[in-house]
Amino acid sequence: MKRLLLGTAMAMGLAGMASAEGYKIGISNTVQGNGWREEMVCAMKAEALASGKVESLNIAHRNTDAAGQLEDIRNLIQAGVQAIVVNPANADGINAAIKEATDKGIVVVAVDQAVTEPSAYILSNNQTEYAYLGAKWLFTQMGGKGAVVYMRGAAGAGADNDRDVGFKKAMAEFPDITVAQEVFTGWQQDQGKQQINDIIAAGVPFQGIWTSGIDNVIVDALVESGAPLVPVVGADNAGFVGQLSSVEGLQGAAVTNPGSVGGAGVALAIQILDGKMPAEKTVLVNPELWDNVSEEGKAKLAAAANPNLSPEWPVSVSIPGWTTYTMDQIIACKGPGE
């Protein structure tokens, strides 16, 4: 068995050396089996393929902690990649390995969430704006007064902290809006549903619900319990976008939070390897809001709906100006050489 292992390893190693030239890019992600993250990885693969400049992708994609991500990044350094695109487990925990990579001249791009290591490039969704845009629409829809259920993400997550800043900014602009209940869903569907059921059962009065992306189960709970359908803000997950046009009497808005930011990260890494430096080390992708009240929003929702997408995927599968792949390429989820 050992000899077989060795033989296979040698054969694969030689095959790797013999292939054509092009960039070798590494990817590190620490959440597996989540619709948003899977879309992100598929966007990375599709962008690498569509660019035509990437020879191979080394993908370290598993469920692990920051210590495991340190291991993955160091293995990618050993693999001799020229760039690493990483969705960091947290903002500080993987700085040591990022520094080791950039010291060796490897381009590191953190996508989705920021890292505090200054040598890394950051390409992230603008989470502050995400919350502000949705909350402002919601408060306007509520007539500028009333109580809102504030359903946050995971306690302590970077994206959740940023969104809280945006939400508070909108609160400050609407002095007559109060928070009826504030809960952390942990970005878990079952937990969020339990929480909204408890709030409905407790009889807490509320006139609107803001969610951090755990959205379709909230609408389900309102419909199932027969509670009044108050305006709901969610993310652009396929399930919620579908509800916005199918659930009668529901007023709501989806704020885009594209998982395709991973594809944009690969595009940025390729640009830097080509010698085109971005003006800023941090690039923020701004969200859009699609509501089912205005004609413009309805048109956007209709255009975004795509029955071929997995229901857990965000419907915003591309980022204009960054990603270059086609819809078929991201759904196929194939990278170079696959």
């Binding site: 060795l6 993908i59 210590a67 350094i77 050993q78 040591a96």
Partner: protein, 319 residues
């Protein structure tokens, strides 16, 4: 000499397997060298310390499912206290965290001995308790680590001719030997093996079974605290959500030749097993194997090696 080889055949086999894997790594990636060994050692450190802790309770006939959660408690406690602490303070903090590990392990053991509920049930319950404690101390990744602590296991030995030898490996060897060797050679060491191989026979021979069991769990807690500190060493922060150390440590213990029923095996085998599993992971990344397939390969290798060993063992008994 022949007898020694026979007695340690499993461990020697693992050492050969590890050497072959490292050779394969060198063939896959000709640039693999000191820095590669260093990253391997740093990745293996938390896993190895967890595995040593787990191996001790398994040898004593138990199992500790709360090991990863205890690591998280140690990691966040250390990180929270060390933020902004001076070097001297941080030394005291590290010692306190180690004591905390001992205490957590002793609580696990005490509950098992007093309640007479099976180990697997008690430690499963304690898994949730320690997880909650970790979140109570720190609800999101944060805190800090003293610079001296972060540099303990980073880079090679500062000795000419030995600079390829990762400090992580030396640290692991020194810590494990300093704690385990004196115990192994003492009465406690004999008792740990005795209660693992047959608790009733041990009791009739006058071994204080309860006390020994508590000691085994306390030692496991101590190594869990070391493991938790090693996570903080690597990341520079504390993480309240336990990492993937529970299943990995059980796997390495089995692969390392410790019998799950207890009473047989040593610590070197499991440590070699950890290094083998980390090298396999590294090779899979180097070969850019599909990540969904990589997990299957890792598992298959483990099953294959253990089955191969079982076949060898039965053959050996027959002849």
């Amino acid at each position: 000499m022949k007898r020694w080889i026979e007695a340690n055949s499993w461990t020697l086999g693992l050492a050969v397997l590890l050497a072959l894997l490292l050779l394969a790594t060198k063939l896959i990636q000709p640039g693999f060298g000191a820095s590669g060994l260093d990253s391997l050692a740093r990745a293996a450190l938390p896993f190895a310390l967890a595995t040593v802790g787990m191996a001790i309770v398994v040898i004593a006939g138990g199992i500790d499912l709360s090991i990863a959660a205890m690591m998280a408690v140690a990691s966040v406690t250390g990180a929270v206290l060390m933020q902004g602490a001076t070097d001297l303070q941080s030394v005291v903090i590290v010692l306190c965290v180690l004591l905390l590990g001992l205490a957590m392990g002793a609580i696990n053991g005490l509950l098992i001995v007093v309640s007479k509920v099976p180990d697997i049930v008690v430690t499963l319950a304690m898994l949730f308790v320690w997880q909650g404690v970790a979140l109570l101390i720190l609800n999101a990744p944060g805190g800090g680590a003293a610079p001296w602590l972060r540099s303990i296991a980073a880079g090679g030995l500062p000795l000419p001719g030995l600079d390829w030898l990762p400090r992580g490996i030396v640290f692991l060897a020194v810590v494990t030997a300093a704690i385990w060797l004196p115990i192994r050679r003492s009465k406690l060491g004999l008792r740990l093996y005795a209660i693992g191989s047959d608790a009733l026979a041990a009791f009739r021979s006058g071994v204080p079974v309860g006390q020994t069991r508590i000691a085994a769990y306390a030692l496991c807690g101590l190594f869990a605290a070391l493991g938790g500190l090693s996570v903080t060493m690597g990341t520079g922060i504390g993480e309240p959500i336990p990492g993937p150390y529970l299943l990995a440590s059980v796997a390495a213990v089995v692969l390392g030749g410790v019998v799950l029923g207890g009473g047989r095996g040593g610590l070197l085998g499991p440590i070699l097993a950890v290094l083998i599993l980390r090298t396999v992971r590294m090779d899979l990344t180097l070969l850019s194997v599909d990540p969904n397939v990589a997990a299957i390969i890792e598992g298959s290798i483990m099953v294959a090696v253990v089955m191969f060993g079982a076949v060898l063992a039965t053959r050996g008994r027959r002849t």
